[in-house]
């Protein structure tokens, strides 16, 4: 079997040396806490920027991204309820049909000699 080219062998050697170390770093508790902290900081920044821009938009009586998001969430919740109700109706209908079929079968059996 042909040997891989020199550049590939060099890369593989470097990768074999670096990869396990990096993988063990990202599996430490410190990394998890650091990443969580960064995530939280990002969320706080996002919220504050949104609040600031909301104040500006509200001054001119215009809806903000957060207002739209709230509306979308309400529509989403409503949509979920409708979907769940539709599924329950479908299920009830199927059970009703099954019961009707059973009764018809029983009736036919009783009438048969």
């Amino acid at each position: 079997m042909a040997q891989p080219p020199l550049w590939r062998r060099l890369y593989d050697t470097a990768e074999r040396a670096v990869s396990p170390r990096l993988e063990s770093v990202v599996r430490t508790e410190h990394f998890a806490r650091g990443a969580a902290l960064a995530g939280r900081a990002q969320a706080i920044t996002r919220t504050q920027v949104a609040a600031l821009s909301a104040r500006v938009w509200h001054l001119v009586n215009l809806p903000t991204g957060a207002d739209i998001a709230r509306l979308r969430a309400q529509i989403g919740a409503l949509d979920r309820e409708v979907r769940r109700l539709a599924l329950h109706v479908e299920q009830q209908q199927a059970q009703h049909d099954a019961r009707t079929d059973e009764k018809e079968t029983d009736g036919a059996d009783a009438q048969s000699p």
């Binding site: 990096l22 990443a35 995530g39 939280r40 969320a43 949509d79």
Partner: protein
């Protein structure tokens, strides 16, 4: 110094020139965004509700009953199970004579942000099963869950012990979330709230999931380009690379409310292992999963590492339960040589033994 053979030097030069020409051609193809078609096995949509669809794969040679219903994960696209002709898990199941159905959750948007696990476990899954039974005239299904789809299948079976299931097969299904790596640790050990990563539509954006997966193997992104450069001349490799990267880079949003539940119940409480599971308002127990059961896990899986999937066999209460450990990666269970040689034949064998030849 070894003597240089002029023939071999000429041969190497010729090969390098040829390969560089092919590299240039394939490189242009990649840069212009030409994509191989995926998920091409003929199918029909048998039922839909919201973004969820039940697909029925066409098969004129379905010889086994009951039908087989595949439950897919909530964070990725289901076409990985039907990647390309000749490299398709679904295609192999069809050829083996199964009547194959798949519950695809679609791409969640703001209307799905409030979806909880119970929506999938208690509503969509039973509705999908009912539709399969109605359309086939059968009274049971074989259920097959891949990755987190396996968790959904297990929660359903545990919460509905009388669900008409002939058997359950799960592949690369995590139960011990302490071993799920950085993505779970950030929420578990790190204490990050799901609310902090939600998008404007109320769902966990796919980029968060992708970042979590990439962190598992920090050098994989570079290695993937190095591999590509080395094999860019190989048409077959490039086609497989395109199909795989298109899938692995293209996750779907995770419904926000379901993500909150997963983090609290499965990550922080490690509920599947500690038996602290609630679906809807009910306590459920994996010990209540009593139908014939097969779990398939891969010992080189870096997404669901072996220790995260291994405890499952002891947790389910089925008397007829089996475990298959394979030398494969997460995707290798359903795509590629290991899948073709071992995973798929074993699953087919397990289900054929729990099926009958249909009349």
């Amino acid at each position: 110094m070894p003597m240089l053979n002029p023939h071999s030097v000429l041969e190497r030069v010729r090969r390098d020139v040829e390969r560089n020409a092919l590299r240039a051609r394939n490189g242009i193809g990649l840069a212009t965004g030409a994509r191989p078609s995926v998920g091409g096995t003929p199918k029909d949509v048998a039922w839909r509700s919201g973004r969820t669809e039940l697909w029925h794969y066409r098969n004129d040679d379905a010889r086994f009953a009951p039908p087989l219903l595949i439950v897919f994960s909530l964070i990725s696209r289901s076409y990985i199970l039907d990647l390309s002709p000749g490299n398709s898990f679904v295609e192999r199941l069809l050829k083996a004579g199964f009547d194959v159905w798949l519950l695809d959750w679609g791409v969640p948007d703001e209307r799905d942000a409030q979806n909880r696990l119970e929506d999938y476990v208690d509503e969509y899954l039973p509705a999908g099963i009912a539709r399969v039974l109605e359309l086939t005239g059968r009274d049971q299904v074989n259920l097959l869950g891949y990755c987190f789809g396996g968790d959904l299948a297990l929660l359903h079976a545990a919460h509905h012990p009388h669900s008409p299931l002939r058997s359950i097969t799960v592949m690369a299904t995590p139960v011990d979330f302490r071993h799920m790596g950085p993505l779970a640790d950030v929420f578990g050990v790190g204490g990050l709230d799901v609310a902090d990563v939600l998008d404007a539509d109320g769902n966990v954006p796919p980029q968060v999931v992708l970042l979590g997966f990439r962190t598992l193997k920090p050098t994989s992104e570079v290695t993937r380009y190095v591999d590509l450069w080395e094999r860019l001349w190989d048409d077959e490799y490039v086609a497989a690379y395109q199909a795989m990267t298109a899938w692995s880079d293209n996750h779907v949003p995770f419904p926000g409310a379901a993500a909150e539940e997963v983090v609290q119940m499965l990550v922080r409480d490690n509920g599947l292992v500690t038996d602290r599971l609630t679906v809807g308002d009910d306590r459920v127990h994996l010990a209540d999963v009593r139908c014939p059961f097969l779990t398939v896990l891969a010992n080189r899986d870096h997404i669901v590492p072996e220790p995260a999937a291994a405890p499952l066999i002891e947790l389910v209460g089925a008397p007829d339960k089996h475990e298959l450990r394979l030398d494969a990666g997460h995707i290798g269970l359903v795509v590629g040589k290991t899948a073709a040689r071992t995973t798929i034949p074993t699953i087919i064998d397990f289900m054929q033994q729990r099926s009958e030849v249909s009349t």
